[in-house]
């Protein structure tokens, strides 16, 4: 009996001794407590933040719903409108080409949109074969656009992007010239179109000048097929002094620098032609 109790006491004492020696016991507990306290603080902070956000959003919603109903529809529409405008701008920046892979990736079909003065006109399509080398395939571009020379000039093999941008420029210019001619025929019936051609690269117009209804023949040559403006403007008249006069010279300049229908409208306004 005494042995066990003595043993028990001794063992107990030795245990206590061991414990006292290894004093690290309460420390991790305390640091752990500190950690936990710190976490709790953080979480409280996050909670406060979230609560603040919720309050702010509620306020915004109240503001929105308190506004008039049409404006409530207007805002999302306006957002969508500006979103679309941005997309269109980006699309235009990257060259405005839509492309679709066809024939299991062996060819690419490219669409070239043409537009003049904000009005969309025709879409031209072209299939470019990629293997064995880049070649022009099926397309619906009219034969008076010189595709082969464009391909050679812009090195289609190495730089398809340059070829496409040149092609787009030519097509847009052609469509622009054609549209100008259409507008002239619609809006300025007093001006007679004597000669034109499919490519719209040569145009001969007959003007009637007011004082004595003198006839003037105006030849517009579009030497640069990538441009909507004529490179050369030439006036012919029975009275050879008339085209040399300063007013007519400035008219020639206007015709070289502004689109045709607007130049003619200007000339009509300033009473140069009927």
């Amino acid at each position: 009996m005494e042995n066990t109790s003595t043993n028990g006491v001794l063992t107990h004492l030795s245990l206590l001794e061991v414990r006292a020696l290894s004093r690290g016991g309460p420390e991790p507990q305390r640091s752990r407590v500190r950690e936990l306290r710190g976490e709790a603080e953080e979480l409280r902070g996050v909670r406060d933040q979230l609560e603040a956000e919720i309050r702010a959003r509620k306020r915004l919603q109240e503001l929105r719903s308190s506004a008039d109903p049409p404006a409530g529809e207007l805002l999302p529409l306006m957002r969508r409108h500006s979103d679309l405008k941005q997309r269109l701008h980006v699309h235009h920046l990257i060259g405005g080409f839509d492309a679709v892979r066809t024939r299991q990736g062996r060819a690419v079909c490219v669409f070239v949109q043409t537009a003049y003065e904000g009005v969309f006109l025709e879409t031209f399509n072209m299939e470019l074969e990629l293997k064995p080398r880049v070649q022009i395939g099926r397309h619906n571009i009219p034969p008076f656009i010189p595709l082969q020379s464009l391909a050679e000039q812009s090195h289609l093999q190495t730089d398809a992007g340059a070829f496409l941008s040149m092609l787009s420029q030519h097509l847009n210019a052609f469509v622009g010239r054609r549209r100008q001619l259409q507008l002239v025929q619609e809006q300025h019936r007093s001006v007679e179109v004597m000669e034109s051609n499919l490519l719209c690269s040569v145009l001969v117009l007959l003007f009637t000048a007011p004082p004595e209804k003198t006839a003037l023949l105006c030849t517009l040559k579009y030497a640069d097929l990538g441009s909507c403006l004529p490179g050369q403007v030439h006036l012919d008249c029975e009275d050879s002094r008339l085209p040399e006069s300063p007013e007519w010279r400035s008219c020639c300049d206007t015709l070289r620098k502004t689109p045709l229908h607007r130049a003619l409208a200007g000339m009509k306004k300033s009473r140069m032609i009927l």
Binding site: V100, I136, G137, P143
Partner: protein
């Protein structure tokens, strides 16, 4: 004697490429001097041409054509009774033409007006101009007219040329050919249609003897360096022109579903539709991609001249022959492209459409020579 000389001078040059107003004045002066009150009768060739023109033009169109021609006065036009027989009409017109002293070239204008309005008679053949020079793009109509007449009359002295520009930018040329000693024959004129700055021209009624002359004159006048046959022929001028100018509805693959694919086709059997539905849609789409959508240009035939070795394992005699088997296959239809498209979409022609058929719209030709050495059809037209 003096009168005879004047007459031959008048008829020799007025039918040529240039008119001499002085000669017309001279002859009328003489005729007034010699026989006041009577008019000059038409010579035989003019009479024949007038007869032919009146015979060719249907009565309904004759009135409008005469109005457009503008060589008869209003009273004369009123005086014509269009319910009479053609022979009576011819006589009446002949007397009016004699009254107005209408020349042979003016009569030719009448024929030309009719042909421009109704071009779909006879067979049109296409030629392609090659290697344009640098200034071909800036060629003007007046330069072209002058150059063409000049070149052609250098090649053949006796030739009568008339050039007219139509509203759709087409330049129409009528050529009456003569020989070294014979005057131009106006009863068998050649018609040529060309759009400036395009590489094609269409010809009707040209003999093979005169083909090199016309080709050379046109090549020089349009500032190109060569010409070749384009192997496209047809009765309908607008159709072959639309085919080459790519003026029909093309179909290209897009990212977005096209309305046609969602079109309701009549469903005959639900089970068949479930199994075969997508295959049929795919076939229809491919047929539309190859041949086009909507109304297609009218071609009447496609000819394949085969010069290949006979290949049929069940027929040893023919297969063992050394030389090639020559044969000509001709497809005919009132509208060939529409029939081929419906063949492809209904599955009669195997899909994908064979290059032999798809070359017709792709390359714009309907005459092909197929040999064993022909490389795979390239997708480029030129």
């Amino acid at each position: 004697m003096g009168l005879f000389i004047v007459v031959s001078y008048y008829s020799g040059t007025a039918e040529g490429s240039k008119e001499h107003p002085q000669s017309t004045v001279l002859i009328s002066d003489w005729s007034i001097c010699l026989q006041p009150g009577t008019r000059k009768t038409m010579n035989d060739s003019s009479k024949l041409l007038l007869q032919r023109i009146v015979r060719r033009i249907p009565v309904q169109m004759l009135k409008t054509t005469l109005d457009k021609w503008g060589r008869l006065t209003a009273e004369q036009r009123q005086a014509i009774d269009f319910t009479q027989s053609k022979w009576a009409l011819t006589q009446k017109l002949q007397s009016f033409c004699e009254e107005n002293e209408v020349t042979l070239t003016r009569l030719a204008e009448l024929e030309m007006i009719h042909v421009i309005e109704n071009p779909n008679q006879g067979m049109w053949y296409t030629f392609q101009l090659l290697d344009p020079e640098d200034d071909a793009q800036s060629l003007e109509l007046s330069e072209f007219k002058q150059q063409f007449k000049c070149h052609l009359s250098e090649l053949l002295r006796q030739v009568s040329v008339k050039i007219k520009k139509h509203t759709d930018e087409a330049v129409w040329i009528r050529i009456a050919w003569g020989g070294s000693f014979s005057k131009p024959n106006h009863l068998k004129p050649t018609y040529v249609v060309h759009h400036l700055q395009t590489p094609y021209f269409f010809v009707r009624n040209l003999t093979s003897k005169l083909k090199p002359l016309l080709s050379q004159a046109l090549t020089l006048a349009t500032r190109h360096q060569g010409v070749k046959e384009a192997n496209l022929s047809g009765r309908n001028l607008a159709s072959i022109r639309d085919l080459l100018m790519r003026q029909y509805q093309h179909v290209f693959p897009t990212k977005y579903p096209s309305p046609h694919d969602e079109e309701d086709q009549p469903v005959l059997n639900q089970h068949i539709e479930k199994e075969q539905g997508h295959v049929a849609t795919h076939r229809r789409r491919m047929a539309r991609e190859v041949f086009g959508d909507g109304t297609l240009p009218q071609l009447q035939s496609a000819v394949y001249k085969l010069d290949t070795k006979f290949k049929d394992p069940s027929n040893r005699t023919m297969t063992e022959r050394e030389d090639t088997f020559k044969c000509v296959v001709k497809f005919s239809s009132t509208n060939l492209l529409e029939s081929l498209r419906s063949c492809a979409s209904s599955g009669i022609a195997s899909a994908p459409v064979t290059p032999l058929l798809s070359s017709i719209p792709l390359k714009g030709r309907n005459y092909f020579v197929v040999t064993d050495n022909t490389p795979g059809p390239s997708s480029q037209r030129h």
